[in-house]
Symmetry: C2
């Protein structure tokens, strides 16, 4: 007889807020990727062209954790016309010792949003200059808000300039940041203007054409590029990528999915170049920023290791709080 | 607000028994594989070497079905020492139109066992001779029992000869078949003896070395090979495979995982040979058995299409019976 804990989105929002503990948990996952025998197979992707839908399944096993997640992320892009969100999804949490299902996290993508924002904070913590009062945010959606909040947990921020293709969205973002985050925020007229004084820039758009060109870079800038998590997405021009110190979450993914993929295709970076991963920088196995004048870019495509890390944190807190609904699973198959 | 239906193993055993409807549902999935734009990505596999564990994730979308399954199949081979079964697992059922999770089938592998047995019956229905009174069963585990029961739903069987490496298991199987299935069953002294008079043979072992040699074949024999669902498994000698009319469930899988994989490695079959799939035979797109003297072999590795088909049947019946536990999933992520 086994039992499974079910947790809904509202419970998970309470259990796993965006805080320093979440950022530290994700940082530990990056270190594990660089230093331990993490098992992280390529993403499983199912396409349902008749319904403009796709599903990604990600998983990873981290030797240091007692459980691992299998994350199912559907994207069904006709859903808004049905009054439903395009993105949702859930995570299964399995015991790393027995394979038994321990929990089903019905988070509708919430935990992914949190671990993605936390990864951005980890990148800034290790690659940005110590002082980063000026921040550029490119894109004005939910992840842009979370990225800024996560950054403010690891760096003092004074002035934010936001740019988005949709000016009304940028205005709403700016008003919210001024009113709720205690930071001065205004709307930039262009990506170039947004970046002009920034020590940190965060890109969070689904753009298919580069938004940041080599001419937008200046000494000391750090860019965290969050948006490119699929082949067709591209936020950083190939020449800009080649002009910076390039760091990524997982080279095997960014070679195929990330900004790196476009730079290799354009010939500005080599397919066989040695690529530094963020976990190697944290573990002091590779250099990140070496001076206050370096330009650094961190290319984040999202990894199953982050999913396993955030799911393990959620389960640990749910058990401590005795949260969730328990479902008995009948006798195992003889 | 969405809700999810949870079904446990006991409920699923009641809802989806091994019957003709299950066999027909799996047959339809084979036809869909051959005739429709089924999306079935390669299996996702995660290895956890520290715990002697592995997890396979399979999925497929069939255009004819309103939902699709994502199946998680863990195998943790140290579990018996903990008093737990090695194999368990569950299926998620998602809407093919919206990607929303509709059900979690906590079946501990039961539905996989049923769809696997049903596939064996489909293979015999389309590839065995019309009259098959004599049947050989190689292996004496749970799947051997289910295979025989499934076969008896589509063919009249008079006499079964069972062979297993463990003679005590073969004796238990024989006693059960005699007592509960109304069929005469005895234990064969060897694989060769078991097959000598058989019109149908079913192999259901985890063997890593061939059990059936070319010398064991005789005109009119049909073999359903169930056991080879991983690279290292092999029940049919490469020379035997090459001497028969070869049909499989999915060529892209059997080239890597199935009996075919070993025959290609041994050089008895060509890597680029045109391979007939079972669905093509059912859809009359390719020839299966052409005479009562053909020797046919059906190489079944198990497909995500079968999982989606059996999961859709389970959900349809659960809804009709208002079975299961409903779990509200909170507000979707804004």
């Amino acid at each position: 007889m086994t039992s499974i804990t079910l947790l809904g989105e509202a419970e998970l929002r309470n259990l796993v807020p965006l805080d320093l503990a979440a950022i530290d948990q994700i940082e530990a996952a990056f270190v594990a990727l660089a230093t331990e025998a993490v098992a992280m197979p390529p993403i499983l992707r199912l396409d349902l062209p008749a319904h403009n839908g796709e599903v990604d399944v990600k998983t990873a096993w981290l030797p240091r954790l007692d459980s691992f997640a299998i994350k199912v992320s559907p994207g069904f892009f006709d859903n808004p016309s049905l009054g439903l969100p395009s993105l949702n999804g859930l995570m299964l949490v399995l015991s790393a010792k027995t394979g038994l299902t321990e929990a089903v996290l019905l988070d509708n993508g919430y935990l992914t949003a949190i671990r993605t924002a936390a990864a951005g904070a980890v990148a800034a913590r290790w690659l940005a200059k110590a002082n980063t009062p000026h921040v550029a945010v490119i894109g004005a959606g939910e992840q842009a808000r979370l990225q800024l909040r996560a950054l403010m947990l690891v760096r003092r921020v004074e002035h934010v300039r936001v740019w988005a293709r949709d000016a009304a969205s940028a205005l709403r973002f700016s008003a919210e940041a001024n009113n709720t985050l205690g930071v001065r925020c205004d709307v930039a007229a262009s990506v170039h203007d947004a970046l002009a004084e920034a020590e940190v820039a965060i890109t969070t758009t689904p753009s298919r054409t580069p938004l940041i060109e080599a001419a937008d870079l200046h000494p000391g800038l750090h860019i965290t590029a969050m948006g490119s998590d699929a082949e067709h997405k591209n936020e950083i021009a190939p020449a800009a990528l080649a002009a910076a110190r390039y760091v990524c979450d997982r080279a095997q993914q960014t070679r195929v999915l990330g900004e790196l993929h476009h730079a290799i295709a354009a010939g500005t970076m080599r397919d066989d170049a040695a690529i530094v991963e963020l976990g190697q920088v944290i573990a002091k196995q590779a250099a990140g920023r070496t001076s206050d004048t370096d330009v650094t870019i961190c290319d984040l495509t999202g990894t199953g290791a982050q999913d396993t890390a955030i799911a393990a944190l959620a389960l640990q807190r749910a058990r401590a709080a005795k949260a969730g609904t328990t479902f008995g699973n009948g006798a195992p198959l003889k």
